[in-house]
Amino acid sequence: MTLTALAALVPLLPFLGAAAGLLLGRRAPGFVRPLAVLPTATSFVLAAVVAARQGTGDPTDAAHKLADTGSAPIYLALHLDGFAVLIAVLVGLVATCVQLYSTAYLRDDPRYPSYAALVSLFTAAMFLVVYSGDLMVLLVGWEIMGICSYFLVGHYWETETARSASIKAFLVTKLGDVPFLIGVFALAADAGTFRINGILTAATHGQLHHPTVIALLLLAGVAGKSAQFPLHTWLPDAMAGPTPVSALIHAATMVAAGIYLVARLLPVFTASAAALAVLAAMAAVTMIGSGLAALAQDDIKRVLAYSTIGQLGYMAAALAVGDRDAAVFHLLSHGAFKALLFLGAGVVIHAAGTNSLTTMSRTGSLAKRVPDAMWTMGIALAALAALPPLSGFFSKESVLRAAEHASAGDTAHVPQAVGWTVFVAGLAAAVLTAGYATRLFLLAFRGSGPDAPDHGRQPVVMTSVLWVLAVPTIAFGGLAYRELPDWFGGAPLGPTLLTSVLGTGLALVGVLITYGAWKAVAATRLAVPAGAVVTAEGDADAEPALVEAEAIATHEEVYGDIAAADDPGDPGRLLLGRLHRHAAHGFHLDALYGALFVRPVLAAAQLVRFLDRDVIETYVRGAGGAPRLLGAAVRKAQTGNIQTYLSALLAGAVVLAVLVAVGG
């Protein structure tokens, strides 16, 4: 089988699996699990085979003209290069893990068939985005992901949180997608083609007429999809979805799509220094802000969500300094450990019966109960904090190295200031990242107090998936940083001494400070019980997803806020001081948006409603009323008396006769 055909099968299989799952889901429940797992797993294998066959060779292109639009034809095009095949492998790996994990996690969910089908569809869409060589086709996958994320985040649509979160995710990403779409058209109009290769050629040769505008428009979409400031707010709320969905969205698919797109289209961005500056500023704000916010979150998944935002900021920063190799490297390693973190968080939530770190910090037995989760999450958190020799270290070092390179003015097209911004922000974010990673680990696994209610043994599938993902988390960075430049055809990615020392040092500083703070507030923590804490009591064999759904649904009732808990024993509180409250609420960005957009929109809707109901409706009613009056009058004539009718008829006939006689 040719490489192209294999690559084409990769997105096709999950798609067919999704279709079959949706069709058969209700009638043949026995087929649902195989239909969910097998196509995805096969795609993973095929993606690996494609990666192996593609290897470090020249990019493979295949195209079939799909539609002739008159100006820029649309091709069903495949573009396989190092980035694409490696990311496809990552997507396949994470998707397979998520599907496996879900079989256990949602084992009793009545909506599992549609859920699994949607996850498959999501995966297929991401494969499409990754492999596509045509912007239009890429956009198709891009939008399918948006729809799927809407459905998946809203999986627990019975809860208000999930409903609003899914709508928010959809609306915010769409908000970015509209300019993105315009940007794509503008790009195609400038380049004369939707083929990415053609666009890149045009960009490289400076044939784009409005690179800044296009780049900024595209950035809007990227910011939406990849949850960059200021469109990141949907991501923490999207934690209302089931944990596997979070893992899928955060690690490999949805958020990665934005970064991947910028990586693919990097020449377009480098053509505009302004776009790079904006991207850098965006990334810097994102990194630091999300780090601070993560330090203040109470919900374990929200901490991870903010960490995702922060790591995506790293990738965006790498792109801002023009180094897509570093960005994709970090994307790959981050995908592995972030998936692991989320899936581990799912296990923890199930075991603890809550998603609140405050509660976990008052629970003693969690580490013993879920040792697999503790160890794998510990590794993954260390990777997140970029401690050597885990993969996160290498990938983050590559980003810092690129930034440092740019700040020295050695990178073409990239302003020095951008480099400096990114570099400083990256270092600051390293401290914060290490801090919140440490806080998460300490609060979740080093708590003390009474045992949480037992929810039974964790399913083997779930824990084994964690260990599977732990392997790349540990080894990928160290093994890959020498090989990857061959695949990407770019500069070396290895850590330099300066950045290693700086990065690792700062990370260690963050760890130690947090640990110190944790120790400092230990007494307070022991003294202050966390109020009505433990939820999801009762059935020991309850499905993990059910436990999580209840935890999400009850969090706000118990703690008064979906994001934070007023816990004096929280080290983050000590470290952030007065900033804590703002950080916990994502620096009130949602409130700002509420004031800036939601309220005006609601007011406008009110106005429209008023205009419609009281102004236009009046005309409509008037327009209806006049004929009705007329009808009532005419209706009076319908007496049912034939003689009346006949009289009128004959009178009319007489009048006509007279008219004819006189006029004729």
Binding site: R635, Q638, T639, G640, N641, I642, Q643, L646, S647, L650
Partner: protein, 134 residues
């Protein structure tokens, strides 16, 4: 003879018939008026036939046909009138207003003392008839 005489007589007979059809309440009287109208037409046909000295006598032939059809019409018409009378206890044309637009707020039921005059009359007539046929 002047053609105007039979023609005018026919016109007047016809209009008398029109008046009867429009003004008479009893369905059988209406049928009689219809007969008058038909006869007016017949008179016209005969008069014009004689005037034109039609070789095929279409006027008289048509008159015969009209008379025949009138006989058939009267038979059917009476059958219908009798059926209506049997079912409703009345053969008044202006009471047969089932096709009228119903009143705005719905007609009151039979048990309602405020039933409108015509409705009550119809109802009681129908009731009597039902009793009679039962």
């Amino acid at each position: 003879m002047h053609l105007a005489y039979p023609a005018v007589l026919a016109v007047l007979l016809f209009c008398v018939g029109v008046y009867g059809v429009l003004a008479r309440r009893n369905a059988i009287l209406v049928l009689m008026s219809v007969e008058l109208m038909l006869n007016a037409v017949n008179l016209n046909l005969v008069a014009f036939d004689v005037w034109l000295r039609d070789v095929v006598h279409s006027g008289q032939a048509l008159t015969l046909f009209t008379i025949t059809i009138a006989a058939a019409e009267i038979g059917l018409g009476l059958a219908i009138v009798l059926l209506v009378y049997r079912n409703r206890g009345s053969s008044d044309v202006d009471r047969l207003t089932d096709l009228a637009e119903p009143p705005e707020h719905g007609a009151p039921g039979h048990g309602d003392g405020t039933a409108s005059g015509a409705g009550a009359a119809d109802g009681t007539a129908a009731d009597q008839n039902a009793e009679a046929t039962a």
